[in-house]
Symmetry: C2
Subunit: 208 residues, 2 copies
């Protein structure tokens, strides 16, 4: 188990599981004055058309999971939505520094909860992570999360396959957002919400 570099970019490490994140940049170039040289280097590597703006497509090309599978489009859209603060549809170098930090932080979270270092989060690891984040999900809800974010469908026997890095990030963000939406709707703090069809659909559809 290693957190190696993508072999296609120089072969510093053998293929294996890492948490997931950016494949390393293929070359070095000088940074603009005052900026972090390493961050500029990564930005340039992701900005393949050299437009100084990163599109969703460029971001999806640059991001890989620990098993080298690509990030889901929905995770890429989630990242773009968080960090495209000027709502341009693309990510600038300034916005990119936040995105970079966010992924680094999630890598550390993922490694922390991937106790068996398998490169994916299984049911027990998921329950542990969501519990430590303060979400009080029932065993039935946890099983639904495990199935929804697993990388393959669950057969009739045995546990579902694990959750890769990008789907783990999305899973946590979705559960956080749904929980916060519920709390906002529960104005009486009674533990219950009353919703009409439109409120219900809007609450659900607003989550990534």
């Amino acid at each position: 188990m290693s957190y190696g570099y993508n072999p296609q970019y120089g072969g510093q490490a053998p293929p294996g599981h890492h948490a997931g994140g950016f494949a390393p940049p293929p070359q070095q170039q000088g940074p603009p004055p005052g900026s972090d040289p390493q961050l500029w280097q990564w930005f340039q590597a992701v900005d393949t058309d050299r437009s100084n703006h990163i599109s969703a497509n460029e971001l999806q090309q640059a991001l890989v999971n620990g098993d080298w599978s690509p990030f889901d489009l929905d995770t890429v859209k989630l990242l773009m939505t968080i960090f495209d603060t000027d709502r341009s549809g693309t990510v600038t170098f300034n916005e990119f520094s936040g995105l970079w930090r966010y992924i680094k932080d999630w890598q550390n979270v993922f490694r922390h909860f991937d106790k068996d270092k398998s490169g994916s989060i299984d049911g027990h690891e998921l329950a542990n992570a969501l519990g430590q984040f303060g979400f009080n999900l029932s065993p039935q809800a946890l099983q639904l999360v495990e199935r929804k974010y697993a990388t393959a469908p669950t057969g009739g026997y045995g546990p579902p396959p694990g959750i890769t890095f990008d789907r783990f990030v999305r899973c946590c963000v979705v559960i956080k957002q749904l929980t916060e939406s519920f709390q906002r709707l529960d104005t009486q703090h009674s533990g219950w919400v009353q919703l009409n069809y439109d409120q219900f659909m809007q609450t659900v559809l607003a989550a990534p």
Copy 2:
């Protein structure tokens, strides 16, 4: 605009937009007695490891959208969950015939609602489709659907990009399931549901 074959399999048609679906099989082989020869041919083409069972991974490799983008893993899992009737985690030849028919039917639906033949469903086409399916969504809810299933994030100006075939299928299945869940929970037919946190989370997380 054509509904052509994938050029990598023989080049019968130039690249262009089609609704999306299976890339055609690379070769012909004899079908087992009594089965549809064409269906058997497609099944064999998808079953690349010749195991007589189609895995989620094999299915994802075989399915492409009209713009040749791959199907999202979540759509592939959705299809597997519907048609893996014996819950084996894979799709057999018998199960495959249902899956094949399902995709063919959705291709016709997609083509019908893609009025401008752009190869993707825009906001107006989406509102028309969901309205004709009998879903009574508010303009705000429709806008959330349009953004959630678009193939890229929405910038501050202009409409979001369109919805490709596989995401359109998932979108319709999700809205159908959420609507039916709401109706089941609305036991008094009052148009309102009362939910605690666990009921809310389970209802949302059960949707694809």
